[in-house]
């Protein structure tokens, strides 16, 4: 009997377990999933909790309920991966060996990386919304907040769901407007990027939206520390931004087990060097990496993990048969961007094609608008929760192609100079 061990039973690990189980005989392959935590959080829902749009109970389920028959799910924390010996060590010192290892340990926020971010004001006037605890505490804070300077800050450029901070900003504008107190709140978006987003066309569209919603943008601001006493953000080049309420997206890092195993890349952020097309680890041939845990230059998003899972399933099946990899991950990413007041925008892109305007065909639901606000996009965003629990995790095929398609996208004629 051979064994596939999946480290991490979150979005990507759960999908991979279910997909592989369908394709591998029970008599020849054992599939084991290990996670340190029993609860599966629907992380995209963390965005809506601070504004009372989702309740905390909407985003929690039992991890064990999402694995199909024939998958062995165990709660335990891995302390170290020993790739040379094809085994992992658990916190309690015991070892689990494998023939194939899939690393799906995700990304976590680490406020401790930034001096004084997790200081006196943490969960008083400084919050994150990337965790269950942060988003639920922020909901309570917003309920009674009387207004002032609201600052949204990204401490790093590599974060999961890179559009979530913008969505939070748009929803905050709508929330305070609907509460009749928008005039009492000054909203400032402080980012280490040179603009609202990294890709030119999307940045232009999103910057216009921020301006329409009267949000100040402070670009090129790389956070060094937080001054709790004076309530200011301080950058590496000594710029300062004052706040009354800070919503921080702390530095995102891969799991601690990656650092303990010396398997992270040179950024020191514990993301695993991974071949961006095959998703094989660059260090060990029988280790594959998926989801937020990789260092591939694609968004860290559930939709990306889904497209990766389609490719990785085929690649692992080929690997088992001793055949070369046939499927290549193209960096496909598909993200709804909530823009407030019941609307959303949609972006669809990959490693080489930036988000473009146009229409996005979706079988059975109808065309969505790309790079433009619409109500149907917002319906799509809300429908994602149902799709996530009922289709994505269980490994069903979604009505979206794995490779990015140019159908519906408007390409400008290249201007020749």
């Amino acid at each position: 009997m051979k064994k596939i061990l999946i480290l991490g039973g979150g979005t990507a690990g759960t999908m991979m377990a279910n997909k592989l189980r369908k394709n591998l005989p029970l008599t020849a392959w054992e599939i084991k999933v290990l996670d340190k935590d029993e609860i599966h959080y629907y992380q995209p829902g963390f965005l809506f909790i601070p504004f009372g749009i989702y309740q905390p109970e909407d985003v929690v389920r039992d991890k064990k309920d999402f694995f199909s028959k024939g998958i062995d799910f165990e709660i335990a924390e891995a302390a170290k991966i020993v790739g040379e010996e094809n085994k992992i060590l658990l916190k309690d010192g015991s070892a689990i060996s494998y023939d194939i290892l899939i690393i799906a340990t995700g990304a976590q926020v680490v406020p401790e990386e930034t001096p004084e971010l997790k200081g006196e004001l943490w969960y008083k006037d400084i919050f994150d919304f990337y965790t269950y605890e942060g988003s639920t505490k922020l909901a309570k804070k917003l309920e009674n907040w009387e207004g002032g300077k609201l600052v949204i800050n990204l401490a790093e450029t590599i974060i999961k769901c890179p559009v979530a901070p913008l969505e939070f900003t748009f929803l905050a504008d709508a929330y305070f407007t609907e509460k009749g107190m928008r005039d009492k709140v000054e909203i400032t978006y402080v980012t280490p990027l040179s603009g609202a987003f990294t890709k030119p066309k999307a940045t232009k569209m999103l910057s216009q939206l921020l301006a329409e919603k009267k949000v100040n943008v402070v670009p090129d601001f790389y956070l060094q520390r937080v001054d709790n006493e004076r309530k200011v953000l301080v950058s590496y080049d000594d710029k300062e931004v004052p706040f009354d309420l800070l919503v921080s997206i702390p530095v995102n890092k891969g799991a601690d087990v990656i650092a303990n195993s010396h398997m992270g890349d040179e950024d020191g952020l514990n993301f695993v060097p991974t071949d961006k097309q095959s998703l094989q680890s660059q260090q060990f041939k029988n280790i594959f990496v998926i989801g937020d845990a990789t260092n591939v230059p694609a968004s860290k998003a559930g939709s990306v993990a889904h497209f990766e899972a389609e490719v990785l399933t085929d690649n692992i099946l080929n690997y088992i048969k001793g055949l070369p990899f046939e499927e290549k991950f193209d960096g496909h990413s598909n993200c709804f961007i909530e823009t407030g007041f019941g609307k959303a925008a949609l972006i669809d892109f990959n490693y080489t094609t930036e988000p473009l305007p146009g229409k996005f065909p979706l079988a059975g639901i109808g065309p969505m608008e790309l790079l433009k606000e619409s109500r149907i996009n917002h319906m799509g965003k809300l429908a994602f929760k149902w799709i996530y629990w009922h289709m994505l995790l269980t490994g069903k095929t979604l009505p979206v192609s794995t490779a990015m398609s140019m159908t519906g996208k408007e390409v400008e004629e290249e201007v020749l100079v």
């Binding site: 890179p162 280490p192 990027l193 990294t198 060094q224 080049d237 230059p297």
Partner: protein, 102 residues
């Protein structure tokens, strides 16, 4: 000004980044540095060489990686290349503008 005039004319993109990083020369680097009011010291050169070596290895660069290089920390990099440390140092090093991942 003399350095700028004597800078070899190399093909750059619309943002001034060298199209082919193998064409890079030290004179060119000095000229571009001068455009940004930077006098290149030994420390600057060390950073520039490190950036070029990483580019040759195919490593995607970030401020954090330079900060972990052992040559400078992030604060010192800001002092060496004020304004946009990674963007400006990359330009002078003749390597492409760093694409921050999303």
């Amino acid at each position: 000004m003399e350095t700028i005039l004597s800078a070899p004319l190399l093909a750059t993109n619309e943002e001034g980044y060298l199209k082919n990083y193998t064409e890079w020369t030290e004179e060119w680097a000095c000229a571009i540095a001068a455009e940004h009011n930077i006098d290149l010291t030994a420390k600057h050169w060390e950073v520039l060489q490190w950036l070029r070596a990483k580019q040759a290895e195919g490593v995607a660069l970030s401020l954090r990686k330079v900060g972990n290089s052992g040559i400078v920390d992030i604060k010192q990099l800001y002092a060496l290349f004020p304004g946009g440390p990674l963007k400006i140092s990359s330009k002078i090093a003749g390597i492409p503008k760093p694409a921050s991942c999303i």
